[in-house]
Subunit: 366 residues, 2 copies
């Protein structure tokens, strides 16, 4: 990936590091291991749901299509399960010890997707119609609730003190997830959102659950709270790096790779990091962007905007420094995440794999 | 209360006992103690929610009105908190030990009300507009989620082995609650529902959480699983008795007392116990009722039905034996509940209070 040179924004504290060279084969193997080891347990958990919730959930996860036929859907990148297994290994336990944690985190993640898609009115996810579009709003609410309850069940039925501690961390993360969604909804109705507010919201929506994924396996493996907290620091900043990249892909991503429309976040008027950073930067491009977005908010024609109109907004965001600032933010968060890893005593190969995952997160194209 | 004599239905297994004489003063004091001891902790828990979720939740609980002004709303009968405190005493602990359990159960109960009202399109609850009507569907989903997460948080932050066990029981009850709502939704689309299906649904929707309320304090007080399970048997059948009475009040209740419309459940086409029992009973009234309800399901004029039309349906339900059968069912479940109490070793005054609460449940008018 190219290194972004310099910035026009006023928010950059230090010179960013170059993007890391990623050990793609190692990361692919890690993600594949997370998926392979956790998916059968996740499917068995979802199979516990009473009909028709089991079918609705299976559709959401991409295991069947809207007609109930087996499907091989895109289940997402599966970063969280990979992290939960490494988390167990970081505490000196076998990766298997992290599986209930991986499954519980995936269940909470998908509970939030089901409810957020309905609240946000999003009709597409992972190249398919969302659950509320196919099965109706009531099923989206109900199955989301069921996945949330199932996440706690999977952990608590282990019956150990560690499981209680793990569930408590998952609950804390879930509360932050909900706080983040509340902020996201309230920001939609506001003309201006500060960079700090945006980072706080993204920390809640993305950082908290990734943090939990990185601590939950360790807690199940017997790690103490200090170790778990430091692992969560890694995970939280990894989440912020992940989200900064997501925000870049939401504007400049390749639709073929991301499965989203061109200028996806601009079409949704999302106040994502590149936008808020560009608006905060000052200067002619920043001011022109501010005027345009304020007019857009009142426009009745917004839905019929052409590609060129979105491209013009993206160009202004870039000119005002929002794209560079966000790229550098991803690398700053990556650096903080990797630094935290150095404060945890763990097998060196596990540390190397956590670093490789962090590297992957900032250079990914989807 | 009058004793219902005999039945026309074919479902009655044994002669029902007469309705018990209730020690009203004792029950009023118990309910008041539950409310007084748990409400401050419940309010402190809800205050943890980030704005605007704290306000939306406070509206739901009746603590403020739609404009944010303090209100003294009807918070419900508070049977569950009273049970949770007695539950702790049943295990020989102080009632205070049951408070986190009482609060957690109330949070889960209200999470389910928020989501169910939205799924069912119910516009009124406790004489007021429901949350989704006042604050919109997204807030109803979000605040429901937050209350559910908060319930787990309140218990797990106790940090004890008992808290983990209590949370596991609460999770099991919550899953049943969700199963019950799924059944309720699916039954709406069916022409016929059997008595057994109706009882199973009501056991999930009402029995499971009442069962949890009666075990959670004991578990927090150190009771073993066998004791907790037997207490849950009492609570489960108490819940079924409670729901049978609710179903009677939903048709023949006094609107002044219940806060619901006349013939409320008939207006909502609810397949409640009196209806399904009447349809199952056979005979001319049962058959005539079946024809009417089948026609109603296809009718475009249903919303403009007169009082007389609903009264005619209620009369047929009664004539077919649905009202008597449901009254007797309430007393049958009451008897099973009280019998279970005899199998638990507990202080006699606690047992007497649990019996008094059970008596109250079957004779209540609201």
């Amino acid at each position: 990936m190219r290194t972004t040179s310099g910035t026009r924004g006023e928010k950059v504290p230090t010179a960013p590091s170059a993007n890391p060279a990623v050990d793609t084969a190692a990361v692919t193997a890690l993600l594949e291991r997370g998926r392979t080891m956790s998916t059968p347990v996740l499917r068995a958990a979802v199979d516990r749901l009473a009909p028709p919730m089991d079918t609705v959930a299976a559709y959401h996860f991409g295991w069947i299509d809207a007609h109930g036929r087996p499907a091989d859907g895109d289940g997402g990148k599966a970063v969280r399960p990979a992290l939960a297994l490494l988390s167990a290994e970081a505490a000196g336990a076998a990766p298997e010890v992290g599986i209930p944690g991986a499954v519980a985190v995936e269940l909470v993640h998908n509970f939030s997707l089901l409810h957020d898609d309905l609240m946000d009115g999003d009709e597409q996810r992972r190249h398919r119609d969302t659950v509320w579009k196919v099965h109706g709003p009531a099923q989206a609410i109900l199955v989301g609730d069921a996945l949330f309850a199932l996440a706690n069940e999977i952990l608590l039925e282990l019956g150990t003190v560690e499981a209680g501690r793990a569930t408590r961390r998952l609950t804390t993360a879930t509360r932050k997830l909900i706080d983040g969604q509340a902020q996201d909804i309230s920001y939609e109705h506001r003309e201006r959102v500060t960079v700090d507010e945006c980072l706080e919201m993204e920390g809640n929506k993305t950082g908290a659950l990734l943090a939990c994924a990185v601590s939950i396996g360790a807690v199940l493996g017997g790690a103490d709270d200090r170790t778990a907290d430091t692992l969560e620091t890694y995970g939280y900043h990894l989440g912020l790096a992940f989200q900064a990249v997501d925000d870049l892909l939401g504007i400049w991503g390749d639709p073929e790779a991301t499965g989203k429309q061109t200028w996806s976040d601009l079409r949704q008027r999302k106040k994502s990091l590149p936008v808020v950073a560009a608006l905060a930067a000052g200067g002619p491009a920043s001011e022109r962007l501010g005027e345009l977005l304020a007019a857009d908010a009142k426009s009745n024609d917004f839905d019929s905007f052409s590609e060129e109109e979105f491209a013009a907004r993206a160009a202004l965001i870039e000119e005002a420094g929002g794209r560079d600032w966000t790229s550098q933010e991803a690398r700053r968060q990556h650096a903080v995440a990797v630094e935290a890893l150095e404060r945890v005593d763990m097998p060196e190969h596990v540390r190397a794999q956590l670093v490789a995952l962090a590297d992957f997160v900032v250079v990914r194209k989807r």
